[in-house]
């Protein structure tokens, strides 16, 4: 970043790093090599504005992010403590003005993250050379800007960003689809009945009705495969890349935005686990190994600052660390399995301790195979919800205010899972690329009880239309009724539909 400045660790921090790294390894954490850099607050804000990467393509939203971070810092409202990039080697940034005890804490926290990046399955398909990739993206976009001009490129990026959440987060785990050649000649449908070797038996083995049925089946299948797309496509950006009449540079930008969206997606899918895991380890390393007596007050102050909660917001650090501790404790005491689950005696349950001591092993296993949804689904117990005082809140239209609605375990868990479904994004897919045989693009919103924000949806349709060129529409439900919102490039129309 700043070529004139040495951002390497000064000797005393280097020693601290060696020490903390040693503790982390001794606890069994396994991470990529991690390079720490020391930056001033302004540089930290810049890098944070770029999502942790020193090199991003030019776009005003990074400037906006930067302004927010800088203002927050300058007015003493917020400060970035820690930042780490999923990359091999991993890069992490330390704020120059922090106290040594903070740097220690941050390092321990960072090793937790990097271990998680390396081992959690969600990250298995992320690009571990993203640092370079982002820089390449930056160069690509800059070149396009040199050629086409900043205005059209920036507007196009804005439009594409408007669609960036229309990806399929799990797609990287599947093998890429085989694309059919659309120009290939159609094969004739041939109905083959069961084999027979005596001609006179054919009418009995393959009666006419049976053959007709078979033919219909095949024809249906053929018709289905002619549908475009064959199956609803969740990766809308990919669909646009494949089928929208984009200019080359436009396609280039769509693929840049899409790549980056896929890179960041796993971090959204594992926010609670990941922050919880890192906090679990900084807490464990600091309190059992790295802290000096003189540092305890500052450590406690900063740790509790990170763990603070507000009523209407889930703090992923807090929820995560507590859940990890809860799991470790349960497996340490054998509070799992049939026998425990079926025990109705409250007193016995409370005193339950089989001294199994499997906690550590269990959490290392869990950090590999779960994401936030499965993590919460499997390990958030009624005891835990009560202990952590979790509740469901909602908006009271009459009072025009937010209120606590319920503390019942099932409802809390359901709501939490719902919030995490598709990671807080509505599920939207392409259902027809040739709607009404007029080359229009039709999306469908899989309504799960919550309506889309209508004004945003319309603006987004506008952006989609600009990429697709032909009219676009989306079917969804508004106030319980099916609606097809359509935009033809000039006007928005709504039409009632069964959906």
């Amino acid at each position: 970043m700043n070529e004139n400045k040495d951002t390497r660790l000064p000797p005393h921090l280097h020693d601290i790093q060696r020490e903390v790294e040693g503790y982390a390894r001794a606890f069994g954490l396994d991470f990529y090599e991690t390079i720490f850099e020391v930056l001033g607050y302004d540089e930290v804000n810049m890098v944070a504005a770029y999502g942790g990467f020193p090199n991003r393509y030019p776009h005003w939203r990074f400037g906006m992010e930067y302004e927010q971070l800088s203002k927050g810092y300058e007015y003493g409202l917020s400060k970035i403590y820690e930042m780490v990039i999923n990359n091999n080697p991993s890069y992490a940034y330390l704020l120059e003005s922090n106290m040594d005890v903070d740097q220690k804490l941050v390092m321990a926290h960072v090793y937790g993250h990097v271990d998680f990046f390396k081992h959690n399955f969600s990250f298995a398909h992320t690009n571990r050379k993203m640092m370079d990739e982002m820089a390449n993206h930056a160069t690509r976009v800059r070149r396009i800007i040199d050629r086409v001009g900043i205005e059209p490129v920036e507007s196009f990026i804005d439009r594409t960003l408007s669609l960036e959440n229309l990806i399929y987060q799990h797609a990287p785990h599947f093998a890429p689809k085989v694309r059919k050649d659309p120009g290939a000649p159609e094969e004739r449908i041939e109905v083959r009945g069961f084999k027979y070797d005596r001609e006179y038996m054919s009418g009995f083995i393959n009666p006419r009705a049976f053959l007709d049925e078979q033919r219909k089946k095949l024809e249906d299948e053929r018709a289905k495969s002619k549908k475009f797309p064959e199956k609803p496509e969740r990766d809308v950006l990919l669909f646009l890349l494949d089928h929208a009449p984009l200019e080359r540079w436009e396609a280039d930008i769509v693929s840049v935005v899409r790549d980056e969206a896929y890179y960041f997606a796993p971090q959204g899918q594992t926010k609670i686990m990941n922050e919880g895991w890192a906090s679990f380890w900084h807490s464990t390393i600091m309190t059992t190994r790295a802290l000096k007596d003189s540092e305890i007050i500052d450590y406690a102050d900063h740790h509790s600052g990170t763990m603070g909660t507000r009523p209407g917001v889930i703090n992923p650090y807090k929820l995560g660390i507590e859940l990890w501790r809860h799991i470790e404790d349960r497996w340490n005491r054998g509070r799992f399995g049939k026998e425990y689950d079926e025990c109705d005696d409250l007193r016995a349950r409370r005193a339950w301790d089989k001294k199994t001591g499997l906690g550590r092993k269990k959490i290392f296993e869990v950090r590999k195979h779960y994401n936030d949804i499965t993590f919460i689904d499997e390990f958030l117990t009624a005891e835990f919800a009560a202990e952590q005082k979790l509740f469901v809140y909602g908006f009271n239209e009459k009072g025009n205010r937010w209120e606590i609605l319920d503390r019942e375990f099932q409802k809390v868990k359901q709501k939490l899972l719902q919030q995490l479904t598709n990671f807080g994004q509505p599920i939207i897919e392409v259902v027809d690329g040739n709607f009404e045989n007029r080359g229009e693009l039709l999306l469908a919103h899989r309504h799960d009880g919550v309506d889309l924000r209508v004004d945003y949806a319309k603006d987004t349709l506008g952006n989609l239309q600009a990429l697709w060129r032909r009219p676009v529409g989306i079917v969804t439900r508004v106030d319980g009724k099916g609606v097809l919102m359509r935009f033809d490039g000039r006007d928005h129309t709504d039409r009632k539909v069964d959906f």
Partner: protein, 369 residues
């Protein structure tokens, strides 16, 4: 600041400012959105730019929280934050971002948007006179300006440092190096200032809406003139059949009843100029707002004479804004138009409603005189 982000940041600022520019009409209408805070910093809440996505409607959503309280407990304001998720770089805040604009910046935007010319310097009137101010200490200078206390302090410091100081016999003799002298700086003080004299008709026919228009318009006029003149004074005159000077507060909130004699205001304005504002060193801007319903043709003639002989020769520009009201005949502006058809420093404007303020400011300030 690292330069890469600087580009993105200034791009963002430009967009934000562009936003303000586009919505400027709206801002001008909602004068109350602009508050002066502190000395000259004002804060305009401008939402951060939010790229639209397909996303869930806000209030239906609800969520899971953590903390004490029985069902029904109200979560305090600010407690609920949708979109709390997302790391830096994927952030998509729904929250307003405050954009600080100083009045100067605001005036600049106003000027740019309305294509207002900078006010031309009026030769001698804009001269500044140098003023000497003692503001610092040097170690050379004439003996007459020697700083006694500093000099001895310095001497004391030296003698302690060199170990020659004897507390029992505290004699200090300053050497040449210890001596300190007062030094001065020359600052330029504007010799000439500007004064705006606002006059408003508060007769029965001027309603609250008309006054609101006057208030908003005068805010923007103030802002513009202030950015052109270092010192700007404002005076306020209200009139119905008689005129009197009032303070700002009264100016905007008084409602009188009764007839209208505009000449009374112009007479007072003239007296004010004679008494306090010497034409040689003051730039004078009288602004008059009325619904244009004067008492009689005689009085209107008196007004024209007063303006022609007494007021216009002394002022940079005389401006008359006629606010439309359901009662007024609106004759006055026609009379003025007739009388001052080709006169350079008279600006006349009709303001039909709040939307017309924009054009009206342009009428008034577009001449750049």
């Amino acid at each position: 600041m690292p330069s890469k982000i600087k580009q993105d940041h200034s791009r963002f600022r430009e967009i934000i400012r562009g936003k303000i520019k586009e919505n400027l009409r709206k801002y001008i209408q909602k004068g109350e959105m602009i508050g002066k805070k502190g000395k000259d910093l004002i804060t305009i809440p401008v939402p951060s730019i939010d790229i639209p996505h397909f996303r869930y409607g806000h209030k239906e959503q609800g969520g899971v929280g953590q903390g004490d309280g029985a069902p029904g407990t109200v979560l305090g304001p600010g407690a609920v934050e949708q979109d709390g998720k997302g790391k830096a770089g994927q952030g998509e805040g729904q929250h307003g971002l405050e954009v600080d604009l100083s009045l100067d910046e605001l005036a600049e935007i106003l000027g740019e948007e309305l294509e207002l010319p900078r006010i031309e310097s009026k030769g001698k009137k804009n001269l500044t006179s140098p003023k000497v101010k003692y503001s610092g200490v040097h170690n050379t200078g004439p003996e007459s300006l020697r700083h006694f206390k500093r000099t001895y302090k310095q001497a004391l410091r030296r003698s302690i440092a060199s170990g020659t100081y004897n507390p029992k016999r505290p004699i200090i003799v300053p050497t040449r190096e210890d001596k300190r002298y007062r030094s001065w700086r020359v600052t330029a003080l504007p010799q000439s200032n500007a004064v705006v004299i606002y006059m408003m008709d508060v007769s029965g026919s001027m309603g609250d809406e008309q006054k609101e228009i006057v208030r908003i318009e005068s805010f923007w006029i103030d802002t513009w003139l202030r950015s052109n003149y270092k010192g700007l004074e404002t005076r306020y005159i209200i009139h119905d059949a008689v005129a009197r000077e009032v303070d700002r507060e009264t100016f905007f909130h008084t409602r009188e009843s009764g007839g209208t004699m505009i000449s009374s205001a112009y007479k007072l304005c003239k007296e004010m100029m004679v008494a306090d504002y010497d034409t040689g060193s003051w730039n004078i801007y009288p602004f008059h707002f009325s619904d244009g319903d004067n008492w009689s043709a005689d009085d209107t003639r008196a007004c024209v004479t007063l303006l022609k002989n007494e007021v216009l020769p002394k002022v940079n520009q005389f401006a008359y804004g006629q606010v439309e009201s359901p009662y007024g005949s609106g004759q006055f502006i026609k009379d003025l138009r007739e009388a001052f058809e080709d006169v350079e420093n008279v600006a006349l404007s009709e303001i039909a409603n709040k939307d017309a303020i924009y054009q009206s400011i342009k009428d008034f300030l577009g001449k750049g005189s």
